[in-house]
């Protein structure tokens, strides 16, 4: 009896699998899949990001009826920050003619990079993924504006140098890097090593193994011994609040602890409470709801109950980061419609659109994001733009502006990007040469 039920269940499951409709029609809109991670150990960062992304695109649908009159079909695919599920999501959405991929995990981005050129779907990894993919000549299908991790690290050095009274004053200083021991965390090392040589500071590395994210006393003991003058934190998820707490514990001066842009979640600083006051984090979007674009989201989406975001969390740092990401997507689509002359664009058009992307001051004002982010420009050979960011400062309860816009040390970053891109293409024998033509406008 029981056996029958089990067999029946299995048969039913198998039948469902075979009849799953995989290719939904996307003729009536532009299909933009969003890879989300609202579950798993990193859900704290993933939830606000995808909320912001979905809310902005839905707002465009509600307010303007989409982009250029074409509705955007927004669909989430849950990855849980797991590469395996991410690849499954990719195969699932691929059939529905997506115009752009937002993998939202370095681990998922890396396997998708070689696929992008084959499947003709551009990847937009906003300030994450592979730094080298900023080189448009090697990676025509991958975009990572507004800045790479290397830009981020160079902005940190620039900021620290500024506080010391000039970059040359960094000579003989100790600079520590506390990072998640994974490809994501290791990203800034080559750049910091190069800068250490140029400016004569000593780089100290403090890897935090993923399994020890919430158990960092050894790393901070080492920091107490070495006494680095500045610390750059390339952490993620539960690692960040723990690091901030540990820093407070050893009385490390908070204004010398600087997180990269993924270490700037509200949940990263909040658990340490007052102890985190003064903690800085790089940021390229402003925090808060005092922007027309956020007000519109509140008006058209959140207040109408069409969002998954609790109202009091609109305007948090990573929420606004998600909004900025969607602004890039939307502007990419808009530019693509312009350069291709089509309303219903394809992945190929989107690639051209992103290459011609130019969000200047005037355009930011038009979309109601005046001062919300620095202007950004992407070009045919430069898929990043190496745009400016600023320091957000934790005032004990929320993020406030802690510095002006800081430009990255582009002259140091760019050669490294180009050589890394060359290495990548060299190591992956048979890497295709760029055949896609550049548009005039870019």
């Amino acid at each position: 009896m029981r056996l029958h039920r089990v067999l029946l269940g299995t048969a039913l499951a198998a039948a469902t699998l075979l009849t799953v409709p995989l290719a939904a029609s996307s003729a009536d809109g532009i299909y933009v899949p969003l890879f989300s991670y609202r579950t798993g150990p990193f859900a704290g960062s993933g939830t606000p990001i995808v909320n912001g992304m979905a809310d902005y695109l839905n707002m465009l649908n509600e307010r303007d009826g989409g982009i250029g009159g074409v509705k955007i079909i927004v669909e989430e695919c849950e990855t849980g920050y797991d590469t395996k599920k991410g690849l499954e999501c990719y195969e699932q959405v691929k059939a529905k003619n997506p115009v752009v991929m937002n993998p939202y995990s370095t681990g998922i981005t890396l396997p998708l990079i070689p696929k992008a050129a084959i499947d003709k779907i551009p990847i937009l990894s906003m300030a994450y993924g592979l730094s080298a993919s900023a080189d448009g000549n090697t990676f025509p299908w991958v975009f990572n504006p507004p800045a790479t991790y290397w830009d981020g690290a160079s902005m940190f050095i620039r900021y620290a140098g500024g506080k010391e009274g000039g970059l040359e004053r960094l000579k003989g200083k100790k600079i520590g890097l506390v990072y998640l021991d994974a490809p994501y965390g290791k990203e800034p090392i080559p750049l910091l090593e190069a800068l250490a040589k140029d400016y004569g500071f000593e780089l100290k590395l403090y890897p935090v193994p993923a399994a020890e994210m919430q158990n960092q006393s050894s790393q901070w003991l080492n920091i107490r011994r070495d006494r680095p003058d500045w610390i750059y934190l390339q952490g993620f998820g539960a690692m960040n609040p723990t690091a901030v707490k540990e820093a407070a514990k050893i009385n490390y001066p908070m204004d010398h602890l600087i997180g990269n842009w993924w270490a700037g979640n509200d949940d990263d600083a909040r658990p340490a409470g007052d102890g985190a006051k003064g903690y800085l984090s790089l940021d390229f979007n402003q925090v808060g709801t005092n922007y027309k674009v956020i007000q519109d989201i509140l008006k058209y989406v959140v207040d109408k109950g069409k969002s998954q975001t609790p109202k009091d969390r609109v305007g948090e740092n990573l929420y606004n980061r998600g909004v900025l990401n969607s602004i890039i997507i939307a502007e990419g689509i808009r530019t693509a419609q312009k350069v291709s002359g089509k309303k219903q664009i394809t992945g190929e058009d989107m690639r051209r659109g992103l290459e011609s992307l130019n969000i200047n001051e005037a355009r930011l004002k038009e979309i109601g994001a005046d001062g919300f982010a620095a202007p950004m420009k992407v070009a045919c050979d430069d898929h990043n733009g190496h745009n400016a960011a600023y320091m957000a400062k934790w005032d004990g309860t929320k993020w406030v502006k802690g510095s002006d816009w800081i430009e990255p040390l582009k002259s140091k970053v760019r050669p490294l990007i180009e050589s890394a891109a060359k290495d990548y293409a060299g190591a992956n024998a048979g890497w295709p040469k760029r055949t896609e033509a550049c548009d005039k406008s870019s």
Partner: protein, 358 residues
């Protein structure tokens, strides 16, 4: 009625000892192979091949590997993920050092490296047993994971810290890298997995398999009847790790295309262990069934709500999916602790006497 053995005579010893003595079994396997080799590549879409079949076959191979160790020899291991990692990294190192040699040779050869590492970490098994051994294999898991992350030699000092798969060809057709067609990759995986299953089947039905099972049932007694424990256990570790290593190489080279060290973390080990236990300890068919249940069922569960038109958020689906899988694991264990393989046998028995109850 449907599964009758009446009238099938065995006239010599070899026929009596064959793995599939019944014509129905042979026909069944033939049909399954036909579906796998012809129907699926010709009629399946990219999602079926790339996101379901290839991973399913890779996990089945790893599950067979772990089953040889845990199911047949009774040595519980939680280091499967790391042994798969050894295979993947070995294959990566080999093919970048010697790009001229055919990639298929390196995929198989990487299993040998994994086997050597498996033997080293299997050494404590002589003295340590049961859950103590399971935790000892965790040492392998964490040590090897640490190597993949912290020792840049393993990933050729590249900037991303991940291993990337270069394009390699076989008779001029790309079999790895992004340019390889789905069907090509699928055939490579299918070929290797079928061949290695056949090999494993012969292994466990022969002298070595019997030695393993004797050790599993009671190692002291096995020693008394003249089985050398250390050799047998280490052989099990070696063969098991070989299978896992090849599975790991296939995972990166035929499926992922690029892998962070985190791919081979302890969760992968647990994932494979689920498959082996749910599928049935000591059964090769069970390894396939377990891989199907543990890997494919969640995908199916994800598609049921949208398919039925239930407006439900993807994250909620994920949460419910976890609960359902958790509950199903417990339920399966309660219904049939010997796994899906046992259910399959019961099913066969029912077919044999059908339409009569017994």
């Amino acid at each position: 009625m449907l599964y009758r053995e009446v009238g099938q005579y065995k006239t010599n010893y070899a026929a009596d000892m064959s793995v599939m003595p019944l014509i129905q079994d042979r026909v069944g396997i033939g049909i399954i192979l036909f579906i796998a080799a012809v129907i699926i590549p010709y009629f399946g879409n990219a999602f079926l091949i790339q996101a379901i079949m290839i991973p399913f076959l890779v996990f089945s191979l790893a599950a067979i590997g772990l089953n040889l160790l845990t199911g047949y020899t009774g040595l519980l291991s939680l280091g499967t993920g790391a042994f798969m990692g050894v295979g993947a990294y070995a294959c990566y190192k080999l093919t970048t050092y010697f790009p001229g040699v055919n990639i298929l040779i390196w995929i198989i050869a990487s299993g040998l490296f994994s086997a050597v590492v498996g033997v080293v970490f299997g050494l404590p098994s002589l003295r340590i047993k049961g859950f103590y051994l399971a935790v000892a294999t965790l040492a392998a898991q964490f040590f090897l994971s640490w190597c993949f992350i912290r020792q840049p030699w393993f990933y050729n000092y590249n900037a991303s810290g991940a291993i990337e798969v270069p394009t390699r060809t076989l008779f001029g057709i790309p079999v790895t890298g992004a340019t390889a067609a789905d069907a090509t990759r699928y055939y490579v995986v299918l070929g290797i997995v079928v061949a290695m299953t056949w090999l494993a089947s012969n292994l466990v039905h022969g002298r070595i398999g019997r030695m393993w099972m004797a050790v599993r049932d009671m190692d002291l007694a096995a020693e008394l009847i003249g089985i050398r424990l250390l050799r047998t256990k280490l052989l099990a570790f070696a063969v098991s790790s070989f299978y896992c290593g090849v599975a790991g190489a296939l995972l990166v080279f035929q499926w992922y295309g690029s892998a962070e060290p985190a791919v081979f973390d302890v969760n992968l080990s647990f994932f494979i262990l689920f498959m082996v236990i749910i599928g049935g300890l000591g059964s090769l068919t069970g390894s396939y069934l377990g891989a199907a249940l543990i890997f494919i069922l969640p995908i199916v569960l994800r598609y049921i709500p949208p398919h039925l038109g239930i407006p439900i958020r993807p994250a909620t689906v994920d949460h419910i999916q976890y609960m359902v899988i958790g509950a199903l694991i417990v339920l399966f264990l309660i219904v049939e602790p010997n796994g899906l393989a046992r259910l399959w046998q019961i099913g066969k028995q029912k077919l044999r006497v059908w339409p009569f109850p017994y």
